[in-house]
């Protein structure tokens, strides 16, 4: 079959990122031709500032050199401009008059710098700051001249001014309003920035408006409205950019400020796509790369004929790339209606932070002087996390989040030999070295190379801080919500929605429909998909045991020597002589080396050989003991205290309540493990307030507490509500669990889930809306009707024993 022809206009960051994404998902779909007005391959435009400052060379900023295009069979026509689009003939016309046909067209023409219509604007020595040619012109000017004026005190202007200063020029920045970078910074941070730039030798005229550029055959200065004149041999205009839409408009495409596209990045002509700064999406025009990369991914998905990705717009953050100045800004920093500010200011240390909140959600952040928490704040904003509980310490950053066992120190303050990852014994110095020598940029890369943060994950924040501080001002891509695993670009939420919407019923169907990159996934996505399918189609989905971690596959916990441990259920922590005798007999009969009381009120038999498991279970079953699911992302234990039956303070029968809850919930599969407890009075001997679902009895009824965690990071529960009867306890518990089962990400416990969605969200669904609570509870019970068979019993009853527990063959004896 003849391939379709894809023509790309614009050889810049957005266009080429789209082509790269396309090659990843559909390498052979198109013959690709790229037109680029600039006479080179594709370079990283944002690093022009370090090139100007002499901190990087041209070679270091090339993204795709000419060989890359050849290697990928792409025809690059560099140094040639497209001047017309003939949409009826499906061709583009270039500046040599040649017509090139297309089946699909991608417009990525970027922006043009704004040139103020001032007298003298065409004089030699007046430049803009957009491309390599501009940088060349500036560098050459620095060799022959000594004085420069930069018009514009925004991000670009300041980076240009800093570069020229570093090359020995005396530089004055002229800026229209009285705050630098007024679109990113509030006046206070703007002033601090100005002070530290002044300390480096930059001069400022602000607020000030340029009236004319002076000179005869070359610039010699500028004149301001107030009459002042400033001498200059070089004038850089950095007053803004304007989407480059002339070509699209002449081709009859609908344009407003930019080329108007829909959520699929298609223009009004469905054969023609557009991405990058030239685009207007939902009224928004972007001038930073992160959103363009999001667009590129979605556009590639549609060009590859997959057709399910949707671009919903992007949240953006800004950093200033002036070495030695730490500045971060994201979201809206002006309050407005219903907004609250949290401000931190330490003039001596030169630190200023301002956080803007709406309804307990972070909507804006400006950080000056200390930006290590920028990415954390950005994540909170992007995820819409409820920050009510963090509010008191929010402004001090992530390391203040009470993280027992990890000292709460900020990464930059730590010594090189400080241990960052306790699980894998990785010191700060090792991480820093790995980042610099192997040129690592992302958390995943650092995990792969050093193992730091790859186990329990409690040090993730610290590792992220180290990456941020090691890479410094250098560009770090902030991905939008993380993909499920490297096999796919889809997030957990997208995957779950697609499973339900498309009625996908097997792992293979999900991978085929959602275009997994790998033939059968990996150890991360397969267990997640298995769970999502199980949750979506109770009773219908056929569990895929090969997609489960060994513990769940074997229904026992693997130990370091390859043996297993066996923990039978003890309902609500209650046992009796018969059960204890059976446990003792089993331990004798199979010569089990260790019998231990667990932290979950039951007994662990440790060191069982895999081939003995079915027989051990058979004996335990005979005494009525069933699987405790100590191995599963499932309901674990329901701890109880003795309660009103015996205790002199007990207000309700907490033991019976615990047993009833365990009988209702055992056997359920959940995103991560779930632990519950019931205490008979507020003395809380069952430690209900660090459980996923905790119940505390009081005279008048039962308090229900949710989202506790006693593990890596201790978190106490939040009070969901109070109810009067045991029936209500059961109903609320079922509803809460079902909401968690249906909405949390795989391997997300209730604590982080609750932090992400907020208690108010859970209350709205489980407490305030009785109809929904009952529906959730009913769905939980429906799903339970398929999951309450003892897996041990099933396997132990099979004779001959299921082959997976026996060796394939014993040879040579």
């Amino acid at each position: 079959m003849k391939k379709e022809r894809l023509v790309v206009i614009g050889n810049g960051m957005a266009g080429m990122r789209t082509v790269e994404e396309l090659l990843q998902v559909a390498p052979d779909l198109y013959d690709i031709t790229v037109f680029g007005a600039e006479p080179y391959g594709n370079y990283n435009r944002i690093l022009l500032s370090p090139v100007l400052a002499g901190e990087k060379t041209l070679d270091e900023i090339m993204l795709n050199d000419l060989a890359w295009y050849t290697d990928h069979g792409i025809e690059l026509i560099a140094g040639r401009k497209v001047v017309g689009i003939d949409r009826r003939a499906h061709t583009v016309i270039d500046d040599k008059g040649a017509a090139t046909p297309y089946d699909r067209l991608l417009i990525a023409t970027g922006s043009d710098p704004v040139l103020l219509p001032l007298p003298g604007k065409d004089l030699p020595g007046v430049v803009t700051f957009r491309d390599l040619a501009d940088v060349d012109a500036m560098v050459r000017a620095c060799e022959d001249f000594t004085k420069a004026v930069v018009i514009g005190g925004g991000l670009l202007g300041l980076e240009a001014a800093n570069g020229l200063l570093k090359r020995g020029m005396a530089v004055t920045v002229v800026h229209l309003v009285d705050t630098l970078m007024e679109r990113q910074l509030d006046p206070h941070a703007g002033r601090m920035l100005q002070q530290s730039l002044e300390a480096r030798g930059l001069r400022f005229a602000l607020p000030a408006q340029t009236e004319a550029i002076l000179g005869d055959d070359r610039v010699r200065g500028v004149r301001l409205k107030d009459g002042r004149e400033i001498e200059a041999d070089l004038v850089v205009m950095a007053v803004g950019i304007r989407p480059n839409i002339a070509l699209a408009r002449s081709g009859g495409l609908h344009c407003e400020r930019g080329i108007v596209v829909g959520d699929t990045l298609q223009t009004f002509d469905p054969r023609i796509y557009a991405v990058g700064e030239c685009v207007q999406h939902r009224g928004q025009v972007y001038g930073l790369v992160a959103p363009l990369f999001d667009q590129a991914k979605v556009c590639a998905n549609h060009l590859a004929l997959l057709g399910y990705a949707i671009y919903r717009g992007s949240l953006i953050s800004t950093k200033l790339k002036v070495t030695g100045i730490d500045l971060f800004s994201a979201g809206a920093f002006q309050g407005g209606d219903g907004a609250e500010d949290i401000v931190f200011r330490d003039e001596t240390r030169g630190v200023y932070k301002k956080l803007v909140l709406h309804d307990n959600r972070l909507t804006g952040a400006v950080l000056y002087g200390d930006t290590v928490d920028g990415s954390w704040y950005f994540r909170l904003m992007r995820d819409g996390t409820d920050v009510a509980a963090l509010r008191e310490t929010l402004v001090f950053g992530q390391s203040y989040l009470g993280d027992p066992g990890h000292g709460g120190a900020s990464a930059s303050a730590l010594a090189d030999d400080a241990e960052i990852c306790g699980c894998n014994g990785v010191a700060k110095g090792t991480i820093v070295k790995a980042i610099t020598t192997n040129k690592l940029f992302t958390l995943d890369e650092v995990r792969a190379h050093t193992k730091a943060s790859s186990s329990c994950g409690s040090c993730t924040g610290l590792v992220e801080q180290i990456i941020a501080s090691t890479l410094g001002g250098e560009y770090t891509k902030t991905p939008s919500e993380k993909p499920l695993c490297p096999c796919t670009d889809h997030t957990h939420a997208e995957t779950r929605q697609t499973i339900v919407a498309q009625k996908l019923k097997t792992i293979a169907d999900v991978m085929a429909f959602m275009e997994w990159r790998t033939p059968n996934g990996c150890q991360k996505c397969r267990p997640a998909l298995n769970y999502y399918l199980l949750c979506a189609w109770p009773g219908e989905y056929v569990d895929d045991s090969q997609s489960r971690f060994i513990n769940e596959r074997a229904h026992a916990n693997i130990q370091k020597d390859g043996t297993y441990s066996v923990i039978p259920r003890m309902w609500g922590g209650i046992t009796n002589p018969k059960e204890l005798r059976a446990i003792a007999d089993v331990a004798d009969k199979f010569r089990i080396p260790t019998v231990k009381v667990t932290g979950g009120q039951r007994i662990d038999l440790l060191g069982v050989r895999k081939e003995d498991l079915p027989a051990v279970w058979r004996d335990l079953n005979a005494a009525g003991l069933v699987s405790g699911h100590a191995y599963g992302k499932a309901l674990r234990t329901v701890k109880t205290c003795v309660g009103s039956e015996w205790c002199r303070f007990g207000t309700q029968d907490s033991t019976a309540m615990g047993i009833a809850l365990e009988k209702m919930t055992w056997g359920s599969w959940t995103p991560h493990k779930v632990k519950m407890a019931v205490s008979g009075c507020p003395r809380n001997c069952a430690e209900a307030t660090i459980k996923d679902f905790g119940v505390v009895a009081v005279e008048s009824g039962w308090e229900l507490h949710v989202g506790g965690n006693g593990g890596v990071k201790v978190r106490t529960t939040e009070l969901l509500c109070k109810v009067a009867t045991p029936e209500e306890v059961m109903e609320y518990c079922g509803a809460f669990l079902q909401l968690y089962r249906e909405e949390a990400r795989y391997l997300e416990r209730t604590a982080p889930w609750l932090e992400r969605v907020g208690l108010a969200y859970v209350r709205a669904h489980v407490v305030e809306d009785a109809k929904e609570r009952k529906a959730l509870h009913a769905r939980f019970l429906f799903s339970q009707s398929f999951s309450q068979t003892d897996p041990w019993g099933e396997r132990a009853a099979e004779i001959p024993v299921r082959s997976e527990y026996a060796p394939l063959k014993v040879v040579g004896v």
Partner: protein
């Protein structure tokens, strides 16, 4: 003694799963990867000796159940940046029968 030892049939191993062949000197994990490709490796992770047969098989790799190292089934090499390798054994399939090439040393305690 013939060079090849029959250890079972392809269907005896679950797709994307593994079974163990015990020998007097070591355990061998026999994997059934995508497309019914069969691989035999010593059942000992180069990291800390985890039983590879109990891991999750994906593509041509297995992830060790103890600490998530990934091992290439064909070469027995750990996937970078981890480093280490595990012994592999030649496999051939005859009429659906899996046969391993087990040398004398492996079978020492018995056949010798």
């Amino acid at each position: 003694m013939s060079k090849w030892t029959v250890v079972g049939r392809v269907e005896d191993i679950p797709p994307l799963g593994a079974r163990v062949v015990r020998t007097p000197t070591l355990d061998i994990a026999v994997f059934r990867a995508v497309g019914d490709r069969i691989f035999a490796l010593e059942d000992r992770c180069p990291h800390r000796g985890g039983p590879l047969s109990q891991g999750i098989v994906h593509g041509g790799r297995v992830t060790c159940p103890l600490h998530d190292w990934c091992i290439e089934l064909a070469a027995g090499e750990a996937v970078a940046p981890d480093q280490g390798s595990v012994r592999t054994f030649p496999v051939r399939i005859t009429d659906g029968q899996i046969e391993l090439d087990l040398d004398r040393v492996t079978l020492r305690a018995g056949a010798a």
